[in-house]
Symmetry: C2
Subunit: 470 residues, 2 copies
């Protein structure tokens, strides 16, 4: 990549009629995502800063930004709300951060389908769909209040709703993406079917999403439920069994090992003991009778909260804001030494594997947090285990112990697509990047295969602008 | 049971202000269901005939019928449309057939939930719900056009929609049943939760359902799809895989072994060969892109019809009217020697077990027909194999071969709850019958455990009024 510093002023001048941001504090804020969840990424990426931020108002302006930056060899890192926590929105080379917050319109919605611009907040998109179609997104991240649909598609993989609908990558969970390339003459492309895999979960490395079409599901008045259990196996089995009850529609089934609820969930703490494991559920109202029937058959589990009928002086708030990446966030606020891992415990050995990992570490070093999700039609667990961080070497060891046992790790302490994923080249993404971003300016440093096809993954990928930890 | 013949005139007189039917032809018509699917049941039950038919207009009239018949010791067999094919609505002892066709009102519906009277046709209920809530029943029988919701609950187990929602017996798939008992003073009871199992799929032997509350699901404009394949394994795997695609919402996935489509499906026949296996699907419109993407990856499968875009001179009609019990019905019309079996091929050995059964019989004797269904969260198959009937002994042998291989048989050549099910006493149903029907007048002869607790199932249960085949 060419040195572009001498081009910056000319590029900014060329884009000055757009919503261009040059204030230091605003640029700094727009140059950060939730990478600081990771004590590995924090020291390495904390210094990164874009040179300017631009906020296009429509696709024509996106094209103008991409064309101008192409001409001036300026890297472009695109972001929504920046709630990703793999560092995917960190501008490794500086340059331009393109913020899509202005492109927040819902273009159409019918029961089952919505078309929107990428900068629309998940929360706003759901509200619009619920009003106009009685539907909502099939799945959202726990950062629903602040995150955008474009960011979720480009940087996320699943979340609240995945217990029923699987992951974003599953066929049918994204319908169409409209994408602008970064070439001398940017092209606008429409992707469906097999082509969707080129740009979904590609961190904006090979094209910029300017319109999304997503499937939706009915927007029921989900009942938030909390159940406590003294036996972890009981809590885990409840989540697994309920997710396998075909007639009980769920949107969330999260399991939190003790003492998560007591130690980290302030509003829940008065209702649990230190040794209580917690199960959080979102149940469709018409599923509550079936759920309560099921629960009535279980020993050792007690419902302590349901959002439609409770006597808590102060309710816990949205229950999904205890799950997925919010669990670690809550823990971090109480204990800054905590970080986490993302793990896949695949069916049919998911429960046994979790129990094995529970037994593999000293008490308190790894705290289990599970999310029931569907994959290939079967319920398994996404693990977002909380880890008390000591050293990078120990973190690596904890990862290795999981992998040796057969638990797949998606390493959130890496900022590249490959290292955060399955450590192999995604040919669909790579080939499209070669075509759509010939100068390698889109979110540089995030796709190893483009930079260094012979990388062996022996050590952490060290992009030139990454700072070694002191 | 007492002889009631001398009481008939008095009972009819007492009920004469109701919609009472005494015409021979009408009584005969109301005394038959689809028992004639079975060459075993046909000669044994063909002679059965009620003494009169009454059609109550509301719950108060149901109570009046039950009280009057209780007083006069007259058996009451309750029916909806009589589309069941286990003989469940056949009046074994004559007496009164109570037809609920007048009780056909939808009482309320919201997205996710509907309350209705039992005599409402599935088709009308769905139309009402679609108009007023954008929803429809989660599952219906293939006799949707003519069958009632009450009959479906009292006599059915699942059907179109079970590929996503499982079976009626699964928690959450029935919300509430209002039931009238047959006592000196009939009681009106409301059942939810565990109590639902007492009267659902009980053939009206222990109480009469006067109101139902059911969960609903979005009423999408389902796309009917037909796919052909020369290799049976390809067709079966397509159905299984698609039902396991979490992002592709299906309402039906049926597999028909060759030459079913060519021989029995008249309007499909021009588009297939004798050796073509057929897959029938109902796909949510927003799932079509994912479905076509999946199909594009398969060798040896070709889509020949989609209802939203086709050039067939004459379309096939509703695709689900080729599946479930309609398959046998279509075959029977072409070849009267055909009957069928109902089989459960449970996950995870379902595909292997089907292949084993395919190999177990001479060509053409047993023709595979599979319906992908969920059970316990896993996709497996309901088999409704068509059988070329020769003798009862051979039919028994075919059943035994299935059972020996581990395939569960629900024998549709038996008219009792136990023999058509798992050959064991359902205590919830039995105990409630003892309480709700102390004289044993409700649909007599259908619950062996009530008549003869020591029955050993060595031979077919021969209720006194069953006629031995000549």
């Amino acid at each position: 990549m060419k040195d572009f510093t001498q081009n910056l002023e000319a590029a900014k001048a060329a884009l000055s009629h757009l919503d261009l941001e040059e204030r230091e504090a605003a640029i700094t804020a727009a140059s950060r995502d939730f990478f600081w969840y990771s004590p590995v990424l924090k020291p390495r990426l904390d210094h990164l800063r874009a040179d300017f931020v631009v906020r296009p108002r429509n696709e024509a302006e996106v094209i103008e930004v991409l064309k101008t930056c192409y001409d001036y060899d300026i890297p472009v890192t695109t972001r929504g709300a920046g709630t990703g926590n793999y560092g995917q929105a960190m501008p490794m080379r500086g340059g331009c951060v393109m913020h899509l917050r202005h492109m927040n319109q819902v273009l159409s919605c019918t029961p089952g389908r919505v078309v929107a611009q990428p900068g629309c907040l998940l929360k706003d998109l759901d509200a619009h769909c619920k009003t106009h179609s009685g539907h909502e997104l099939r799945m959202v991240s726990s950062t629903w209040v602040t995150a955008t649909i474009g960011g979720f598609i480009a940087g996320g993989s699943g979340g609240v709703g995945s217990v029923t609908w699987g992951s974003l990558r599953d066929l049918g969970n994204i319908l169409r993406l409209r994408v602008v390339t970064m070439e001398a003459a940017p092209r606008v492309l429409e992707f469906t079917g097999e082509a969707l895999a080129r740009v979904s979960h590609a961190y904006g490395t090979n094209g910029i999403i300017t319109e999304v079409e997503m499937p939706t599901a009915p927007a029921y008045d989900w009942v938030d439920v909390l159940v406590k259990a003294k036996d972890f196996g009981v809590a885990m089995t409840l989540a697994d069994d309920l997710a396998n009850e075909d007639g009980i529609l769920l949107k969330l089934a999260s399991v939190f090992e003790a003492p998560t609820a007591k130690s980290f969930f302030k509003r829940v703490a008065p209702y649990v003991d230190e040794d209580d494991h917690l199960l959080a559920l979102m149940v469709a109202p018409q599923g509550m009778d079936g759920f309560l029937t099921y629960l009535g058959r279980q020993e050792g589990a007690e419902m302590i909260y349901r959002s439609d009928a409770h006597s808590w002086a102060r309710g816990p708030g949205l229950i999904f804001e205890y799950g997925w990446n919010h669990t670690t966030l809550r823990a971090l606020k109480v204990d800054p030494s905590i970080t986490y891992l993302q793990i896949r415990y695949g069916f049919p050995k998911h429960k046994a594997l979790v129990e094995k990992m529970r037994a593999a570490f000293p008490k308190g070093e790894v705290i289990q947090h599970l999310e029931a999700i569907r994959a290939g039609g079967k319920v398994g667990f996404a693990g977002l285990s909380m880890v008390r961080f000591t050293t990078e070497a120990r973190l690596e060891e904890i990862i290795r112990i999981h992998e040796d046992a057969g638990a797949l790790i998606f390493n959130p302490h890496r900022y590249t697509l490959e290292e955060g994923g399955r450590q192999h080249t995604d040919d669909a993404q790579l080939n499209f990047k070669r075509e759509a971003d010939p100068k390698g300016l889109l979110n540089p440093g995030k796709m190893i295969a483009f930079d260094d096809p012979y990388w062996t993954y022996d050590t952490m990928y060290a992009y030139p602008d990454m700072r070694p930890p002191s």
